[in-house]
Amino acid sequence: MRVAILRFPGSNCEPDAYRAVAREGGTPYYLFHRDTDLQDADAVILPGGFSYGDYLRAGAIARFSPIMPAVERHAADGKPVLGICNGFQILCESGLLPGALERNAGLKYLSRPVDVRIERVDTPFTAHYRKGDVIRIPIGHGDGRFTAAPETLAELEQQGQVVLRYVERPKVDAPGNPNGALNDIAGIANRDGNVVGMMPHPERLADPLLGSEVGRRFFSSLVQWKRPALVSHA
């Protein structure tokens, strides 16, 4: 599984994604924002960070990078694309995913663990989880409040495009939804399920030496992913 990991100016989580893919036996490699060819990628990861310093709006400048038309073609071919944090923001800005990520409801950057429930296990990134699994993984973002027009939101729910949802556990000090995201949405897929964006960082808990590796299966799912006949989730 060849996994292209994109580097935009200001990306800072690309080494983390690289390690997570390599650990599962995949073949990660970096592509630069100025590249125009994905070099036979089976999958693409847009990593976290602050592309272009989040200037103007998170992801707003990176979406115009020379590499993005190739990512759009790759996605249109039904091949896997994962955007984590800033990568999710870029995917929304580029129109590969619906909706937008706005300033956190608390108006502050938030770095903390969150509990998220896996809502879909038929994407290339969640196949190794069980539906309903709740995992605790970190977030680190200032602009993670998922929002969409009411009709878009309704469609996302109807089509089962919500992949991850923040959940509250009993007696936790902080609310389950850290940023005010509509419908507690932490991650979504496109209609075909091959493009996924998520705010939490599974790659940050994917190493047994760190004490928890609950995020590993996003990457083991991907590396062992066999492209099925495409089905709609209507």
């Binding site: 940050r204 190493d207 030496l209 760190l210």
Partner: protein, 758 residues
């Protein structure tokens, strides 16, 4: 004065003001210093040269008051790769790895513009580390403000925290720890100290030493603007009403450019393309070029008209003294200029030749063909006049140390714990550190909120424990004991994770050194820190001195912040701070004498800040460190937490309260023997050093006891951990105190948010 033949000629730049005594004074140069300048040049300086001397001979750059004292720090050891004098210190790690680290202050800028002041403080310390060839893997910070009931202090606190967060988050370096302290002495003069830790292959180490006559100096990174001119001299005077007017001297940070500069610099270094590199930090181009030349024993010639500018019409004086951020000076062999420019272009950065290395030893500046400065370079950097200030402890300090509280002892011994946990200095700093990314880079093993942060060194199975500490109350009451205790607390925090302390960096924040009582504090604190560093085998690898931390309300508490790194040979043996399993036994390590002098208990409950601080027993501290490391290596302990502010009761409460996002606190039942002559308050809230609260499986009790006996650490098995939702019960003699741990946790977590939303 008769003027001999000038050493080298320089001319005024058109438009320079006349050289008058007033102008010299405005440059913070006294008569003695001015005379030394004229003697060195054998002519009066040009205005440009006056600016250069003003910057390099400021306290901030020259250490002219403190150098003789700083020389007494122990700086050597088998683990030292690079001691003081470089951009950062470097210690050796296993398998060819090394750690570069340093702490620095950004106090004065943060006092007038907290957001940018703190942000650029982080930016500067990151650059100090990556210019050594190290990739930054952690930042920590030590922040001090006045009490939060004052809206100005809330503004400074919130602004500084946001500044630290926004900068570090964007660059992508996790914040693994820190400390925040609130005390009246910091109103008006907050302290913002930032530390960075980086990892490198020892073979990639590069030093900021210019050499090779004919080599080219290049400016890399951001353009030069008018921001921050005279920042170094601003940092070298007391804060006053007029300081607000210094706001334009605060630099503005751009973390996005910093991230690009980081990647470009590491690529320049690891590819072997450059000879030397230094951050244009305090005093900008002037200090970076002059210091690199002096270290290499060569001269430099700068052509300031070649420096890429943000705005037209800047004079050489302004260009030399600008502190615009995110700029580097690199030394390059001429034939490699295109390679340097290609690497920089990849990262969207400019790289412009602006000067060369010369053989005449002069620091020469040319602008549009006019030589505006020509100063003997070595003398400029090294012949700064030194001062040996008088030192004498103030009678008031002596009296305060021997005083005792006049108010009657409190009757509500149990309620005191809640008061202590509600104090912002003791309370959880979750409000702070959840604004800092603590998990980026995917190497965080123990994040903020515990005794020390622990990170995995990527590609290995060892880890580093990192902490910053300063018990400033103790230093204020007894600078020698407090200085020792500062190092001891840092080492204890590192040791509680199971790591072996390796070395320190320090940031010495004091008042005006011309006041004998301030210089006494400085010299005594350094003596105490040195003794502790020698006892622990943890050399000083560098740091920073910040003097003149005085505002109209007086000097800050003397605050010699220590940043320490320790090594965990196997990162999976790390010990968390909080209790982990109901049924585990709880033991108290160390000796409790019930020492309340200088304690938070006396301050908060009996409204008395004084008495002798706890004496620092270096041998006992060393034994405790050894025990914790050995116990970790044998995987004997499930938790370890040191006793500091608020003593044993606060340590036990914190161990119950648990990690910042745990769902439910655990309880504990602890029985304390009450020796004759020790009050319940002293047992619970006394702040004797060299102690920790640990927990372990009941089956391991014999092994734990044997290890403690072998290493000479007093150990008292005092109780056990109880289940989620149960109370913390502490029995003192015949009296049992109990607290609902959910209430302890709520109090502890809400103390700061409650005040910040007031």
């Amino acid at each position: 004065m008769t003027i001999a033949t000038p050493a080298a000629a320089a001319q005024p730049y058109p438009g320079d003001p006349a050289l008058t005594p007033e102008l010299v004074r405005e440059h913070k140069l006294n008569d003695r210093e001015y005379a030394e300048i004229v003697g060195m040049l054998k002519r009066p300086p040009t205005v440009t040269e006056l600016g250069v001397f003003s910057a390099l001979w400021s306290e901030h750059c020259s250490y002219k008051h403190t150098k003789p004292v700083l020389k007494t720090f122990p700086t050597s050891g088998p683990q030292v790769v690079q001691g003081p004098g470089e951009n950062a210190g470097v210690l050796r790690l296993p398998d060819g790895w090394a750690v570069a680290f340093k702490i620095e202050s950004h106090n004065h800028p943060s006092a007038v513009e907290p957001y940018q002041g703190a942000a650029t403080g982080v930016g500067g310390i990151l650059r100090d580390v990556f210019t050594m060839g190290a990739r930054p893997v952690a930042v920590l910070n030590s922040l001090r403000f006045g009490p939060l009931d004052d809206p100005r202090n809330r503004y400074l606190f919130a602004g500084a925290v946001k500044g630290v967060g926004d900068y570090g988050n964007c660059v992508g370096v996790p914040t693994l720890g820190g400390e925040v302290t609130f005390a009246p002495g910091y109103s008006g003069n907050p302290l913002v100290n930032a530390m960075c830790v980086g990892i490198l292959r020892e073979t990639d180490l590069i030093r900021a030493k210019a050499h090779g006559v004919g080599n080219i100096l290049m400016a890399v990174g951001a353009r030069t603007g008018r921001d921050g001119i005279h920042g170094a001299s601003f940092a070298s005077e007391d804060l006053s009403e007029a300081s607000e007017a210094r706001r334009p001297q605060v630099q503005v940070g751009d973390p996005f450019t910093e991230k690009l500069l980081l990647e470009a610099s590491l690529e320049l270094i690891t590819s072997g393309t450059i000879v030397a590199i230094q951050d244009m930090g305090a005093a900008g181009l002037t200090s970076s070029s002059a210091e690199m030349a002096a270290r290499g024993g060569v001269g430099v010639e700068l052509d300031t008209s070649k420096v890429p500018l943000r705005e037209a019409g800047m004079t050489p004086y302004e260009i030399l003294l600008s502190e615009s951020q995110e700029r580097m000076l690199v030394v390059v062999e001429p034939h490699r200029i295109p390679e340097v420019q290609a690497i920089c272009a990849k990262w969207e950065l400019g790289a412009t030749p602006i000067g060369r290395v010369t053989d005449d030893g002069l620091f020469r500046v040319v602008h549009n063909g006019i030589t505006v400065a020509a100063i003997p370079g070595q003398s400029l950097v090294e012949d700064v006049p030194l001062y040996y200030p008088e030192k004498a402890e103030s009678p008031a300090a002596v009296a305060r140390r021997s005083a005792t509280p006049s108010a009657a002892p409190a009757t509500d011994t149990a309620g005191a714990l809640l008061r202590l946990l509600d104090d912002p200095t003791i309370a959880s700093k979750r409000w702070v550190f959840e604004q800092y990314d603590s998990t980026v880079q995917a190497n965080t093993v123990l994040g903020p909120g515990g005794d020390a942060g622990v990170l995995l060194v990527e590609g290995t199975n060892f880890g580093l424990a990192v902490t910053v500490d300063c018990p400033n109350r103790y230093v204020a009451l007894d600078p020698y004991q407090g200085g020792m205790m500062t190092v001891a607390e840092a080492a204890r925090n590192v040791a509680c994770t199971g790591a072996v302390p390796l070395g320190i960096t320090n940031c010495l924040n004091f008042g005006n050194p011309d006041r004998p009582e301030v210089f006494f504090q400085f010299a005594e604190a350094v003596r105490g820190m040195s003794d502790a560093c020698r006892a622990f085998g943890t050399p000083v690898t560098g740091g920073n001195v910040s003097l003149y931390n005085e505002s109209p309300i007086g000097a800050v508490d003397p605050t010699p912040t220590v940043g320490m790194v320790g090594l965990l040979a196997d990162v999976t043996t790390r010990i968390p701070s909080a209790f982990q399993r109901p049924g585990d036994l709880v033991a108290i390590l160390g000796t409790t004498t019930g020492h309340l002098g200088g304690s938070m208990y006396w301050w908060l409950i009996r409204d008395f800040l004084g008495g002798p601080p706890p004496p620092c027993d270096l041998a006992a501290e060393r034994q405790l460190q050894r025990f914790l490391a050995a116990a970790a290596a044998e995987r004997l302990l499930h938790s370890a937490h040191d006793c500091a502010d608020g003593g044993l009761a606060v340590a036990a409460a914190e161990a119950c309260i648990g990690e910042p996002y745990t769902s439910q606190p655990l309880g504990a039942g602890i029985h304390l023997e009450q020796p004759a002559g020790i009050s319940p308050e002293g047992l619970l809230y006394g702040e004797d050093g060299a102690r920790a609260v640990v927990s372990f499986a009941p089956d391991d009790v014999d092994r734990v006891r044997a290890l403690a006996r072998e290493l000479g650490v007093p150990l008292a098995v005092a109780g056990s951990v109880t289940g989620p939702g149960t109370a913390l019960r502490i029995t003192v003699g015949s009296q049992t105190l109990a607290w609902e741990t959910t209430e302890l946790r709520r109090t502890y977590l809400e103390a700061i948010p409650r005040r910040m939303s007031a």
